[in-house]
């Protein structure tokens, strides 16, 4: 399963990086006469409502999905780790303040807050990343806070403190590294979450704007052609589901390696 996950993710990354070479057509080129045509040898995934090659758009769409995933996960995990480690290590009023903020943000359904933010900021790729990162860091912060609270009591951290190490050094050298494996698992599963969220926002018309090919936007366009051109819906959706599955496989496997207790309950 982990191997299948790594294969899917690796393939998607390769496709995204080499999109301009491997895409058979320009993703924006329109052949209006052939609009909504089903899959043929020339157009393996068929053509969309403006006569654009769906395979090429799916290939370019991988860029958007992975870009959003990587950006959101990087920003969220860095911010969350630093904030969580600070709260858990210093405790006191810093922790109280951060924990209240985490409580409020956790009480708010994540995707709803993202929808709200994009609704007022305006739909764009940048705002999608901003909105998803605004909700994304909270999970990491809560996780790392817990690890930091346990770590600060350990002998080697106490020893470092007794030797006069400054808090910033203790955090960077001792507390944060202890939390990294947990963060890595969360980040892998977070990629899947961010990719779904971007597609959902784009599907609702609140994400990436046309003509940029995004799998979510493509699904949105397919909705008006369920009767005459179901291929508009099938291929972008399949790409999302596969990539999400890939990251979930990888994340599950990573978690089992880090915490063998979960391996017992995992399903085949």
């Amino acid at each position: 399963m982990a191997r299948a996950g790594a294969f899917i993710v690796g393939l998607a990354a390769l496709v995204a990086l080499t999109a301009s070479w491997i895409a058979p057509y320009d993703p924006a080129a329109q052949a209006l006469a052939l609009r909504l045509q089903g899959p043929t040898a020339a157009h393996l995934f068929g053509l969309d409502e403006l006569g654009r090659d769906i395979l090429s758009r799916v290939i370019y769409g991988a860029r958007v999905s992975l870009f959003v995933g990587v950006s959101v996960v990087s920003v969220s995990s860095i911010v969350g780790t630093v904030v969580g480690a600070t709260a858990g290590y210093f405790r006191g009023w810093i922790d109280d303040g951060i924990s209240r903020l985490i409580d409020v943000l956790m009480a708010f359904p994540g995707i709803l807050l993202a929808i709200a933010l994009v609704a007022v900021l305006g739909p764009s790729l940048g705002n999608v990343v901003l909105a998803l990162s605004t909700i994304g860091w909270v999970g990491y912060a809560r996780l790392v806070r817990g690890v930091a609270m346990r770590t600060r009591e350990l002998d080697y951290v106490q020893a470092a403190r007794a030797l006069g190490a400054r808090p910033a050094r203790i955090l960077a050298r001792h507390v944060i590294p202890t939390a990294l494996p947990t963060v890595a698992v969360q980040a892998t599963l977070g990629m899947a979450g961010a990719i779904i969220a971007e597609a959902a926002l784009s599907f609702l018309g609140l994400g990436v704007q046309p003509p940029t090919p995004s799998w979510g936007t493509m699904l949105d366009a397919g909705r008006s052609h369920l009767f005459d051109a179901p291929h508009l819906t099938i291929f972008p959706g399949l790409s999302i589901a596969l990539l999400v599955l890939g990251f979930n496989f990888l994340g599950d496997r990573l978690r089992d390696r880090i915490d063998p207790r979960t391996a017992r309950e995992s399903t085949p």
Partner: protein, 306 residues
Amino acid sequence: MLRYLIRRLLLTLPVLLGVATLVFSLIHLVPGDPAQSMLGDAASPQEVAALRERLGLDRPLAVQYGHFMAGLVRGDLGTSLRYGTPVVGEIEARVPRTAELAVAAMTVAICLAIPLGIVAAVYRDTIVDHAAMTVALAGISMPNFWLGPLLAILFAVKLGWLPVSGTGDWTHLVLPAATLGAALAAILARMTRASVLEELRELYVMAARARGVSRARAVLRHAFRNSLIPVVTIIGLQLGAVLTGTIITETIFAWPGVGRLLIQAINFRDYPLVQGCILFISVTYVGMNLITDLVYGWLDPRIRYE
């Protein structure tokens, strides 16, 4: 229990205050002038000024915040720009539809997942188990905005058994409920399987088996009931996901609930209505989490003393 109840209620207050503040600040995050943004570029400066005054945007921020909070306490969320009617009324009119959809989805999920999970646990590591868990994994990985259109293509377009979208008799509810319930069903099936397997390892089940109780009876009469507690928790925790899932599901199937109202309000830049919908959904979410916690505290007394 009473102390737990009071403490839990008191803990909810700052969260609600935070949610309300977030919703209040939304309109101030609009780049540029919110009034101009709502009316579009064609509006005259007089119209924009009039709207600013009507929404109170020309007053100091603290006054606006006080006014907003006072309105909330009275149950007044302002007036929708598009409909010209109170926001509360617009939301109220659509709540029954959303509730209907959510309840139907939960019912579909529970009726599918619990038997599936039990069967998978009883026939562990057989083809039945693998098939059931593969279906469940597919259900988790499939985003509802893809599953919905696929179900519509199959059952509405190809087979012609069900309507594609809209409302009417019960057949209109089938596809949206299945779409919304699928992810929950997948999570529940995995949880039920794991939970039943856990119980099957317990001594009392083995004792029952040793006394000659059949495997099926051991599962149904003994293991299943005890394995329900974690399953109930998961149902509670997933209520929120079902609630936010209605936004997408209602949009796919043109189901006239609060979620679709929110997306329409966003498209029309009807910010008071957007704020109202978001407030309504998040307060319902907080309320459902509260109820789940209370039920859980009641089921498992250890929680109360933490």
